[in-house]
């Protein structure tokens, strides 16, 4: 893999890191799942019918549901775990 790091995949990897939601080999569980939650939230907002469904389930109007889903994207999984030693 060593020589690949210097050729085409460097570009690919750099390209990947430009986007949110992409990961890397040293990603923690917390970071990865945060991305998943945010993806999920944006999927809900992006599909109005899904949003309507959720808002019915929560008994909120769609605008408030939307607002709350967006707000939740800030820390979707709660506070980050305390730093371990390593």
């Amino acid at each position: 893999m060593a020589e690949l790091r210097y050729t085409l995949n460097t570009q690919l990897e750099q390209l990947h890191t430009r986007y949110t939601g992409t990961g890397h080999p040293d990603m923690t569980k917390y970071e990865w799942l945060q991305h998943q939650h945010r993806d999920t939230a944006s999927a809900i907002i992006g599909h109005p019918s899904l949003l309507a469904y959720i808002s019915v389930a929560d008994n909120e109007c769609q605008a408030r549901e939307r607002f709350e889903v967006i707000e939740r994207m800030l820390q979707p999984c709660g506070k980050p775990p305390a730093k371990t030693d390593d």
Partner: protein, 1155 residues
């Protein structure tokens, strides 16, 4: 000649006669024999082809030596001192001159006058009293950049260490007697011995090659055997011994000889005639580095690797790591610092001279270790190399690349070396090579980012008012690069201060030039800061120093050009001084002012522009008369810009400008200089846009019959452009006659090789359209006449003209003319000059194109067999024209030719697949498709499949493409069985070719592949499990196209099977293979959906081995970039009680809602 008379046997191959070869070998042996290739070798050297101005970079000694920069204070002090010295020197010169003049009295300079124009016989109208242009036939004086002051030869300046070294290396030092090797003495002792049978005592003789003469810069440096340590016996034989009362003193304890100091001397003629090679270690080492002289061939050097070449300068520069004691095994004797140095030198040598793989690894090493080496040792080695006089383009490029990489790593550690780097890199900014300039800019901008603005300014500040104009020029350019790297706003306060400097006009001049360069480099990006930039330099227009005024005007011109068409409001402040200026100034300053106005006018509103044009036109018209070439070009440029603005009326142009314009500019002399030529054509075209076609064309069309050919060409060029822009509707009948007549004349008289006349002919005739009908018989008979001309070039031009005119002849309904042309050209196909033949075939093709295959005369069934043998012609132009014609016939009129003939052509076409030119290969491949359509795929396919067995890769690749095209045109079912069958051939190339062909087939047929996916699965299973990785790579390409083709058509089970076969390849390391595998997997994302792929990827995302994780995460990233939204339902549920207890809730509750 009869058999007996023949002095030589007939040979298979021919070469020069032996006598001649011997003679040349002898000549080469002789001393001073001129080397024919010396010139080519020189042209590779950067310094050898640069102008004097560029070579002034070698005068810069301030930044070159080793070690760090001096402090800002020291440099400022030194620069001030230098400036003072310069001032005094000039004052003295001036004084001496004055004294001399006084002494001479008033001697008139009678011989100095240029004769009046009339005497020279130039027919251009007189240009007023002060005529200074030298007659054209005189050798032109070397041009100096016109805004540049006279370069002074700085005698008192100490030459750089490199030139010093070059001097000391001057060849032919007298050898003094006493240091000669004692070997000589022994031979003298036994004088009878002949030298031939003498066994050289092991290393007593110096190995010397043939004597060569070198220029002072290119002297061979070798380690001299005469400086080797003498043995005790030799010393004993030389010096008086104990018997004479002398004794040998023991070596003092504290004496430690420097380990590797070795003297280098120029190679000298051996004074001893023939010498045998000795076996000494040093000789071996030297031989290993390419013999004594360095070499142009690849050589393997121990501890370094394979080098592409080794120049004599390199052997000297890298002496420490070459030859004796240079190897890595010697490294134990050195201190840490020296070790670093040796390591760096080795890496640099590898990078500079190594073969690509060697160079690559070395470059990576030096980058990785840059911070360990440190800035000092690195730049102390790199920078002197870049100042080497014998540096070649390739070496410079590589060294610059090293600097770039190293800079990136060193970051702010580079600070102490900024000035030294700048001294070396700045010259790149004015190099004539575009890529060198770009590289230079790149380095300086990286340097600026690493060192920071404050440091850059304090480093470059002293150079801003440097005595040498060259230094100021390059510094200005470097500053503009810094500005673009760090942003104009951050540099603005500094620029403002410099442009208003009271201390020296040089500082103001450079400051303004920086702004000019910023405008040139950044283009419209100056717009946000335009007002600030203009205000910064505005005062320069009234500066007391003329050069500053000129530069200010030029900078304004550059700013206006960059800002066009916006930003006129920013120039408000300078309009008035500019306008006053063009009335006050003369000469260069006036030219610059006019230029500035020329660029500002197009930014104005129409009514203002009209007013200002009318204001400055009298001055422009006055300057029409000038003899200064630069001024003439500027005037032309400004006229063009004025004519282009809306506010200027056609009548104004016609009445006020054109008469003078034609009188002063449309003269033969203007056609001789390329820049004048281009500018005049552009300006006239722009004027024609305003004044109308007939006005301009009417004025110049008579000159089509002028006797000077360059002038005719210029006229034709202008007419072409004018007519192409505006059409020929404006041209009346009389002018039409004149025009056609002139064009025919000019075409017939053409001797130069370019297609200006041809283009012009085509453009004008096409623009006239139906109106050209009456002239066609005349034109065609001219073509027919010229097609049989004795000169090949005339025939070629006639054929080219036919190609151009064929459509217009057809549209005028003159079919008989076309058929006549067709027949005559057909008869000419025996042409022997390939260029002409190519044109003839192209012309025949053009005729066939417009008349159609059925009406074509000669009939296609005669034409095609005539083309078959021509296909064997090796000339590219012929090949291309032929293949185009054949392809056209195969496409439109294949039925007129028997199938047998087509098969013959098929075999000939295979050869064309080897052609260098892509257009030929493409045309050949397409022709296979047409032919297959005409005569059925079986035969063509078997030809192509057989061709997969050939050695040559390009031919095989083209065959695979052709197979795919046949499959596309005749349906995949005709080809796939044959390909599958052929795949069973136990031959690597054939199988690869089959796979490649299938990949193309599935790429071309797209959705149609759904009917064939099950048929090829067996083949793919075999290929994907093959040992050969190219097999697997190509199979992956097939899988990719299949997956994309059948996406959404319900073939998931087949695709899953294929994915399972592809998946084991994800850890491939070869870039192409892994690329192919990843492509296939990504195509699977489309074919199978991201959910399936995610379940594969999840297996390895958290693998304990990092290398495994790396690959899986890369795949995950491509998944998420491709279809993030679609993956939401497929993420695993990872919520757990322990996490919840720790405060993180990983469950996605929204997905659990149920209404």
């Amino acid at each position: 000649m009869s058999e007996e008379e023949q002095p030589y046997r007939t040979l298979q191959t021919y070469s020069a006669p032996q006598e001649l070869l011997d003679e040349h070998a002898e000549m080469a042996d002789e001393e001073n024999a001129p080397d024919v290739f010396e010139q080519t070798a020189k042209s590779k050297q950067v310094a050898a082809r640069q102008s004097d101005y560029h070579l002034r970079r070698f005068n810069r000694t301030d930044g070159v030596g080793e070690g760090e920069d001096e402090s800002y204070e020291d440099r400022m002090r030194r620069i001030n001192l230098e400036r003072e010295e310069e001032r005094v020197r000039r004052y003295k010169e001036q004084k001496e001159k004055e004294d001399a003049e006084k002494g001479q009295g008033s001697k008139t300079l009678e011989g100095d006058k240029t004769p009046p124009r009339g005497l020279i016989g130039d027919e251009t109208p007189p240009r007023g009293a002060k005529e200074e242009t030298p007659p054209m036939d005189e050798a032109p004086k070397k041009k100096r950049r016109w805004d540049v002051e006279e370069p002074q030869v700085k005698q008192e300046e100490k030459p750089g260490e490199w030139s010093e070294q070059a001097l000391e290396a001057a060849p032919k030092k007298r050898r003094s007697r006493w240091d000669q090797t004692p070997a000589e003495a022994t031979t003298e002792a036994a004088p009878k011995k002949s030298r031939w049978d003498q066994t050289p005592s092991s290393d007593a003789v110096a190995v010397t090659g043939k004597t060569q003469e070198f220029t002072s810069t290119g002297v061979m440096m070798v380690e001299d055997k005469r400086y080797r340590r003498m043995t005790d016996e030799e010393l004993d034989s030389l010096l008086p011994g104990k018997a004479d009362g002398y004794e040998v003193v023991p070596v003092p304890d504290d004496y430690k000889p420097l380990p590797m100091v070795r003297k280098m001397v120029p190679v000298q003629a051996s004074e001893q005639g023939f010498m045998m090679q000795d076996d000494a270690d040093a000789a071996k080492a030297r031989a290993a580095v390419g013999g004594i002289q360095g070499s142009d061939e690849q050589t393997e050097i121990e501890g370094i690797g394979t080098l592409q070449f080794l120049k004599p300068e390199d052997t000297q520069y890298f002496a420490k790591v070459l030859g004796e004691g240079g190897g890595e095994e010697e490294d134990v004797h050195y201190s840490l610092e020296e070790l670093k140095e040796r390591k760096i030198m080795r890496l640099l040598l590898k990078i500079k001279n190594g073969t690509p793989p060697v160079r690559k690894t070395a470059l990576r090493q030096i980058t990785d270790k840059a911070r360990d080496f440190g800035a000092g040792p690195l730049f102390d080695k790199i920078l002197p190399l870049l100042m080497e006089r014998t540096l070649e383009d390739q070496e410079r490029h590589l060294l610059v690349k090293v600097i770039d990489r190293v800079l990136y790593k060193l970051d702010d550690l580079v600070r102490p070396y900024v000035h030294k780097i700048l001294v070396v890199i700045e010259p790149l900014l004015i190099d004539e090579d575009y890529y060198a300039r770009v590289e230079g800019r790149e380095i300086i901008s990286n340097l600026a980012k690493a060192a920071g603005l404050a440091h850059m300014i304090s480093t470059m500040r002293p150079d801003i008012d440097h005595v040498d104009e060259y230094v100021r020029n390059t510094t200005a350019r470097a500053f503009s690069v810094v500005a673009s790297a760090l942003g104009i706003p951050s540099l603005l306060p500094f620029l403002k201060a410099v442009c208003r400097s009271k201390k020296s006009w040089q500082a103001r001049h450079t400051g303004i030039r920086i702004i000019q360069q910023i405008a040139v480099m950044m283009g419209c990006a100056v717009l946000p800061h335009l007002r600030n930039l203009v205000d910064a330099i505005a005062d320069g227009l009234q500066d007391e120093q003329q050069k500053v005024r000129t530069m200010t005007a030029l900078a304004l011109a550059a700013l206006a050009e960059a800002a066009a068409p916006y930003g006129i409001e920013s120039f408000d402040n300078v309009l008035k001084p500019l306008w006053l200026g063009i009335r006050q100034h003369r000469g260069k300053t006036l030219a610059a002012f006019i230029k500035a106005i020329g660029y500002i006018i197009p930014l104005m509103d129409p009514e203002y522009a009209g007013y200002y044009v009318r204001e400055c036109m009298p001055i422009l018209i006055r300057e029409f008369q000038t003899s200064d070439e630069e001024m003439r070009r500027i005037v032309l440029q400004v006229i063009k810009q004025c004519a282009g603005t809306e506010g200027v009326s056609p009548t104004y142009i016609r009445d006020e400008v054109l008469p003078d314009f034609f009188r002063s500019f449309w003269v033969r002399r203007m056609a001789l200089d390329k820049r004048n030529y281009r500018q005049l054509v552009e300006t006239t075209t722009e004027l024609a846009n305003k004044a109308g076609v007939s006005t301009i064309v009417g004025k110049i069309c008579n000159d089509l019959k002028d006797e000077s050919e360059p002038f005719r060409k210029m006229v034709m060029d202008t007419i072409t452009k004018v007519v192409a822009n505006q059409g020929a509707a404006d041209i009346d009948e009389r002018l039409e006659v004149l025009l056609i007549d002139g064009i025919i004349f000019a075409f017939q008289e053409q001797t130069m090789e370019d297609n200006v006349m041809l283009e012009g002919f085509g453009t004008v005739v096409n623009a006239l359209g139906g109106r050209v009908k009456p002239y066609l018989p005349q034109i065609v008979s001219m073509i027919l006449w010229r097609l049989t001309n004795k000169s090949a070039k005339v025939r070629m031009l006639a054929a080219d003209l036919t190609t151009k005119l064929a459509p217009i002849i057809k549209s005028n309904g003159e079919d008989q003319l076309l058929s006549k042309l067709g027949v005559v050209i057909f008869e000419q196909l025996g042409e022997e000059y390939p260029d002409t033949l190519g044109s003839l075939i192209a012309a025949e093709g053009a005729i066939a194109n417009v008349v159609g295959m059925t009406q074509m005369n000669p009939p296609v069934k005669d034409l095609l067999p005539r083309m078959t043998p021509i296909l064997r012609n090796r000339h590219e132009k012929v090949q291309e024209a032929t293949i185009n014609l054949i392809g056209r016939i195969a496409d439109r009129g294949a039925e007129f030719v028997p199938a047998k003939e087509w098969m013959r052509i098929c075999f000939e076409l295979l050869d064309l697949l080897k052609a260098h030119k892509k257009a030929i290969r493409r045309a050949a491949v397409n022709s296979f498709g047409y032919i297959a359509k005409a005569i059925g795929p079986q035969d063509v396919l078997s030809v192509l499949l057989t061709n997969l067995k050939v050695q040559e890769r390009q031919s095989r690749v083209c065959s695979t493409v052709a197979i795919a095209i046949v499959a596309e045109t005749c349906g995949p079912f005709t080809c796939i069985p044959a390909i599958l069958n052929e795949y069973r051939t136990p031959e690597l190339n054939v199988r690869n070719g089959c796979l490649k062909a299938l990949a193309w087939v599935f790429e071309y047929v797209g959705e149609m592949s759904k009917d064939y996916i099950h048929s090829v699965i067996g083949l793919l299973e075999d290929a994907l499990t093959d040992r050969d990785h190219v097999h697997r790579q190509t199979a992956c390409a097939i899988v990719k196209h299949l997956a994309l083709g059948v996406a959404g058509l319900g073939y998931e089970e087949a695709l899953t099977h294929l994915l399972n076969l592809v998946w084991p390849n994800i850890f491939e390391t070869s870039p192409h293979v892994i690329g192919g595998v990843m492509d296939a997997i990504e195509a699977m994302r489309v074919g199978l959906g991201p959910g399936v792929l995610l379940s594969y990827v999840l297996q390895g995302l958290h693998h304990p081995a990092r290398r495994v994780r790396e690959v899986y995460w890369r795949m995950f990233n491509t998944l998420i970039l491709g279809s993030a939204d679609a993956m939401v339902p497929f993420y695993p549920d990872l919520g757990s009680k322990s996490d919840l207890a720790a405060g993180q809730d990983y469950t996605r509750h929204h997905l659990g809602y149920w209404v």
